[in-house]
Amino acid sequence: MATNADQPLSFPADMIRVLRADGTLDPEHDPHLAVDDVVALYRAMMRTRFIDERLVMLQRQGRIGFHIGSLGEEATILGSAWAMRAGDFIFPCYREFGAALLRGMPLQRYLDNMFGNASDNAKGRQMPDHITARDARFGSVSSPIGTQITQAVGFAWAAKLRGDDVVTLVYFGEGSTSSNEFHNGMNFAGVYRVPAVLLCRNNGWAISVPSDQQTATATFAQKGVAYGVHSVRCDGNDLFAVVSATRAAVERAARGDGPTIVEAMTYRMSGHSTSDDPNAYRVDDALAPWRERDPIQRVRSYLIKAGAWDEGRDGELEGEFDREMKQAIAEAEKTPVPSIDSMFADVFESEPWHLREQHQAVVQGPRPQRQH
């Protein structure tokens, strides 16, 4: 029997790979990045990792409460964010602070969030890493899995209805494909052919659950077949492949050909978050092959080979990152906690009677023994 003619049920299950082991680029999908851009991306990946590691230290020292990082996933996150155009929009999952920084969120703003202080633009109302950065054209992180997918599709759909040339990128993990909202987002994306890029960070794990227990399918990308959504897989530890796959998806969306799900094959090198101890469920050996494929190391080798970088300059970078982080941390740490007033603002645009009463009672009442 023939497969259906209208809609091929196959998809390019072979991953897009560009950066070869020998440091050369496969011409088939080479995104032809200028060397300066690769250097900029290398820097951004290094910076992301540096910040990540510093935040884990801060958490261990009890100076911040929590961190959820992107160790090992830097190429997926920065490559995809970089492939978006300036006017495009990003809906985050929760591991993509690097993308927000790349798009212009000031480091200080991020640290203010990590400390939940009075300067945090969300007034310390949310957990660390639950950032919002509207002026970086970057949404608002929320914990419930999957909800951002449908929202991103609605945002993309609105852009299409308004006739604006805006493509929307949304991040989610492979575990999130099991959520209600993955289904809703994908289906609406397909039906309304919205200009969206649905980026599935397949990092192998959903907390302790390995990706092969999440679904009976061999890939996550093939889920696009259920929705008429174009599917593609790429090596998520290959910066060039991620840029290439995302850029193609953006172009496709921008020219009106609808959404793409991009499955980026990467690996969560750390625990799920600072609250997690991965030794309870995975052996360290599992990491070895992925250390070989470290996304930053691969770009470094490429740049060195291209004569655009030398190891010595890594030290410079780290010195620079160290300075900016020290300063931002110091600033964030000395900023006071948000005011009581801030606890009652922004529930509604203006404060209704019941919140005014509750607010006043707190202002007039006793303070807790431990403030926070």
Binding site: F91, D120, N121, A122, K123, R125, Q126, H130, T132, A133, R134, G139, S140, S142, P144, T147, I149, T150, Q151, A152, V153, G154, F155, A156, W157, A158, A159, L161, R162, T168, N180, E181, H183, N184, G185, N187, F188, V191, A345, D346, V347, F348, E349, P352, W353, H354
Partner: protein, 324 residues
């Protein structure tokens, strides 16, 4: 002034707001070509096209989730949930996202939208076409909740809701949809949110109701009056934030209160009203506040008139409260 039933009045409100502001759009199951299973959106797709009156796939989560994204983009979505019993697949989007987006983003994003949905019993809908889930949304910080009882209010409250900066759950009592026509101004007007209507003034007992049960309360009030009990009847119109001043003023006058709602009694909005009245008018109470409500069972089919808090159950509560 034209005469309209509630279906027509809501349709009119949608039409006027869609004409006023091209960012207002309607989406939901069967809202387009069919004009909704209750025909509330009839004719809108003809006038505004398939891009502004959208027949969606069968997914409430998809409807509300995409509406959040649209709101973040700057549109003003007015999603319809076909029956409020079917709002639960969208519950996560409403409770976790719609209600919290402004707060969690420090006001950078909002999810301004009006979620319209038919509510309540009286059409022999059984378990799943009759429920009144308002308390679940009143308990969720960040949502406004409205429930009109008549065509004129329905139009003005819907227009006010669409223009309001915050997300609104707009419950439409389906038993009232086509029950009666009333005079409805043909131009756009707002009935302000959080403002109750005193539909009958009295001195002995305050009765608080809304939506379809208002008419049962009116009926019981008339019967009570015939028996010498003077009833002050309040139609809340907006359930949350409730018009507390109107309630407190009335209860301070009468010292007695009966609250009527269709939802199950336990943890229904009636409980909150009793608690608020205790906080604000305890020393004026001359009798225990009484709730006349649906029972703590799923909504039954055949015995729906036994389940609903109709006049035959409101009247004795009013009389007993008055004489207690």
């Amino acid at each position: 002034m034209p005469r309209m039933n509630m279906v027509q009045a809501i349709n009119d409100a949608l039409r006027l707001e869609m004409r006023r502001d091209s960012k207002v759009i309607v989406l939901g199951e069967d809202v387009g070509k069919l004009g909704g299973v209750f025909r509330v959106t009839q004719g809108l797709q003809q006038e505004f096209g398939e891009d502004r009156v959208i027949d969606t796939p069968l997914s409430e989560g998809g409807i509300i989730g995409t509406a959040v994204g649209m709101a973040m983009y700057g549109m003003v979505p007015v999603p319809e949930i076909q029956f409020s019993d079917f709002i639960f697949p969208a519950f996560d989007q409403i409770v976790s996202e719609v209600a919290k987006l402004r707060y969690r983003s420090g006001g950078e994003f909002t999810s301004k939208m009006v979620i319209r949905t038919p509510v309540g019993g009286g059409i022999r809908g059984g378990h799943y076409h009759s429920q009144s889930p308002e308390a679940l949304f009143i308990h969720t910080a960040g949502l406004k909740v409205v429930c009109p009882s008549n065509a004129r209010d329905a139009k003005g409250l819907l227009i006010a809701s669409i223009r309001d900066p915050d997300p609104v759950l707009f419950f439409e009592p389906k038993r009232v949809y086509r029950a009666a026509k009333g005079e409805v101004p043909s131009e756009a007007y707002e009935v302000p949110l959080s403002s109750a209507a005193v539909v009958r003034t009295g001195t002995d007992v305050t009765v608080i109701a809304w939506g379809a049960m208002l008419y049962e309360a009116i009926e019981a009030s008339s019967q009570a009056e015939a028996q010498g009990v003077s009833v002050e009847l309040i139609d809340l119109r907006t359930l949350w934030p409730v018009d507390i001043d109107t309630i407190v003023t009335s209860v301070k006058k009468t010292g007695r209160v009966v609250i009527v709602h269709e939802a199950p009694k336990t943890c229904g909005f009636g409980a909150e009203l009793v608690a608020l009245i205790n906080e604000k008018a305890f020393w004026h109470l001359e009798a225990p506040p009484v709730r006349v409500t649906g029972f703590d069972t799923p909504f039954p089919y055949t015995l729906e008139n036994e389940y609903l808090p109709l006049a035959h159950r409101i009247l004795p509560a009013v009389l007993e409260t008055a004489r207690c």
